[in-house]
């Protein structure tokens, strides 16, 4: 599923924020490669730098040191049209992500209008097909987001993110604000969309259980530094860093078997392969 050259590369990336004479290194010397088509999870608590990382990749802020490369080309603060189109965002809060004064269809159509994709007369048809793709009815296009549930709004936000056919999706805690059952459905949708469209996901989350369910590889951040990175199975069966073990140890679990497994991982004991 993955290509040879990385779609996104972080090369000794650093970001320092200064205010009132204090400087904080939100990101410090981060080097990481993202493979095309993978779901790569970025995990960390508050202050880990994961939000800063997302903002840098999206071009909302500029790096203080180091470089970001997208498809081999340097990604600075000012980007080409192509680069803007290729990287899109799904936010955490579905209630805030849609303009309450614009119809659902208008919100989804926005990327098409901005990037002048397709003929104007065809754009509404595109919107309808996007709505179907995320599991909603085309009739939703005429509605206002008011009165729609968090799950429905998040699906609309996903449809909007897909509208201009991006290659990389930055997902910032996309299901953290959703109910458990809704989260499961939306995660499934994201999984399916990635496979069908060959997308790459930069999936930011604090929830390691979600990482286990959906990600191919995971990178753990703490206080702006990359602590550990690797395939999900490897990180879960044999986490090298104490911090990763601590994070795994804090995951709330619901069965005895899960609790035992969590304790074993936490203690650094070897975990039998294929533990279910």
């Amino acid at each position: 599923m993955t290509g040879n050259a990385p779609i996104l590369e972080l090369d000794r990336l650093g970001k320092v924020f200064s205010a009132d004479g204090h400087s904080v290194a939100a990101l410090d010397d981060v080097s990481l490669a993202f493979r095309r088509g993978e779901c790569h999870a970025i995990v960390g608590e508050s202050g880990s730098g994961k939000t800063t990382l997302a903002n840098l990749v999206l071009g909302l802020i500029g790096a203080t040191s180091g470089e970001i490369r997208f498809d081999g080309a340097t990604l600075g603060r000012s980007r080409t049209r192509e680069q803007k189109r290729a990287i899109q965002l799904v936010q955490q809060n579905p209630l805030s992500a849609l303009n309450p004064r614009r119809s659902v269809g208008a919100s989804i159509r926005l990327p098409l209008d901005v990037h002048d994709l397709g003929r104007r007369s065809e754009r509404d048809a595109r919107v309808a097909s996007l709505l179907k793709e995320v599991g909603l009815e085309p009739e939703h296009a005429r509605r206002s987001p008011r009165g729609l549930s968090g799950g429905q709004r998040q699906r609309i936000a996903i449809a909007r993110a897909l509208a201009c056919e991006p290659e990389l999706l930055v997902l910032d805690e996309p299901t953290s604000a959703l109910d458990v059952l809704v989260q499961a459905r939306v995660l499934q949708l994201l999984q399916r969309l990635r496979q069908e469209r060959g997308l790459t996901y930069l999936f930011i989350t604090h929830d390691l259980a979600v990482v286990r369910a959906i990600a191919d590889r995971v990178s753990v951040f703490q206080k702006g530094r990359l602590v550990e990175t690797g395939p999900v199975e490897a990180i879960f069966s044999d986490p090298k860093s104490a911090y990763t073990r601590e994070l795994i140890g804090a995951i709330p679990v619901v069965t005895e078997a899960e609790a035992a497994l969590r304790a074993a991982i936490r203690a650094g004991a070897p975990v039998p392969a294929g533990a279910e």
Binding site: L181, A213, P252
Partner: protein, 301 residues
């Protein structure tokens, strides 16, 4: 932890109904909930958004009944009164016999006052005649109890100067300062990092064991509930659908909604994502009560 089931419950909710809106077309939110909590017990009310769990907590504190366009029926027996009626009776008991802690500790504390002042207010609510010095002494002791490293400095700080985790501890300390009979915790620690949330819950567990305070835990997180509560009520769209001890509920979930909730949680052991419906008519199935977990039938004041 075995609890004396013959002891009179600290809180008894009986057939509680709640509707919002005007008299002619009210929007029903609670359809007749019954719950109880015995002394020293930790009971969880678990549900998703819109289930009615948060409004139940607020009704128990008397925070909703007195507002316009709120229609309440049924009873909430606590400390010899019926809190469902609202008014001065339950208001008097707030902060001293029943206390509440909230989801986001930093925003729940008043940003314009130092912690010291807020603590004094809380302690005064339990004992009008308490002196400033005595209040400060007790506040320091309370903060030390929740493992805050420098209680004096914390008291002289504002909420925004302390971390989320510290503020959560401060809130717990303030809530338990008057040794209430009942602590209502509304999604505690949800706004905090996972590791901090775990510490917070451990702290709450220890302290309430120590003080013998009963806890009503409101949560959407089944993992948290499993590690904290003795008994669990599952609420779906304004109705209790399953009720059992923690062991019973998690080892043998019987109601389709409870089972869906448990299945939907991603597992550390892997296995990908389950195929579940977001809604199902089966979720409206009637209440399932596990053995030994009925509601008390005794009459109350």
């Amino acid at each position: 932890m075995a609890h004396n089931t013959l002891q009179k419950p600290v809180l008894t909710i009986r057939d509680l109904r709640l509707a919002f809106g005007d008299r002619r077309h009210p929007t029903p939110v609670l359809h007749g909930i019954s719950m109880h909590i015995r002394p020293g017990e930790k009971v969880a009310l678990v549900g998703e958004s819109g289930s009615g769990k948060s409004v139940t907590a607020r009704l128990a504190m008397g925070l909703l009944q007195d507002q316009k366009r709120v229609h309440v029926s049924g009873s909430i027996f606590f400390d010899g009164i019926d809190a469902a009626r609202g008014g001065a009776e339950i208001a008097r008991r707030r902060g001293n016999r029943v206390a509440m802690i909230f989801q986001d500790p930093t925003s729940a504390l008043n940003p314009t006052f130092k912690i010291r002042g807020q603590f004094r207010d809380v302690l005064r609510s339990g004992d009008r005649s308490i002196s400033n010095d005595e209040a400060d002494r007790r506040a320091e002791a309370a903060l030390a109890e929740v493992s805050i490293p420098d209680p004096k400095r914390a008291l002289d700080s504002y909420a925004f100067q302390l971390s989320g985790g510290m503020n959560q501890r401060v809130m717990i300390a303030m809530a338990l300062a008057n040794r209430p009979q009942l602590l209502i915790a509304d999604e505690p620690g949800t706004a905090l990092d996972v590791t901090v949330q775990a510490q917070t819950l451990n702290l709450m567990h220890e302290l309430t064991e120590k003080t013998g305070t009963s806890v009503l835990l409101i949560s959407h997180n089944l993992g948290v509930v499993r590690e904290f509560a003795d008994r669990v009520y599952v609420i779906y769209r304004g109705r209790i659908v399953e009720h059992g001890t923690t062991a019973q509920l998690f080892n043998d979930p019987r109601h389709p909604y409870t089972r869906a909730l448990l299945a939907a949680i991603p597992k550390i052991s892997g296995g990908g994502l389950p195929d579940l419906p977001e809604r199902s008519p089966e979720f409206e199935n009637p209440l399932i009560v596990h053995e030994g977990c009925g509601e008390p039938t005794e009459a109350f004041a």
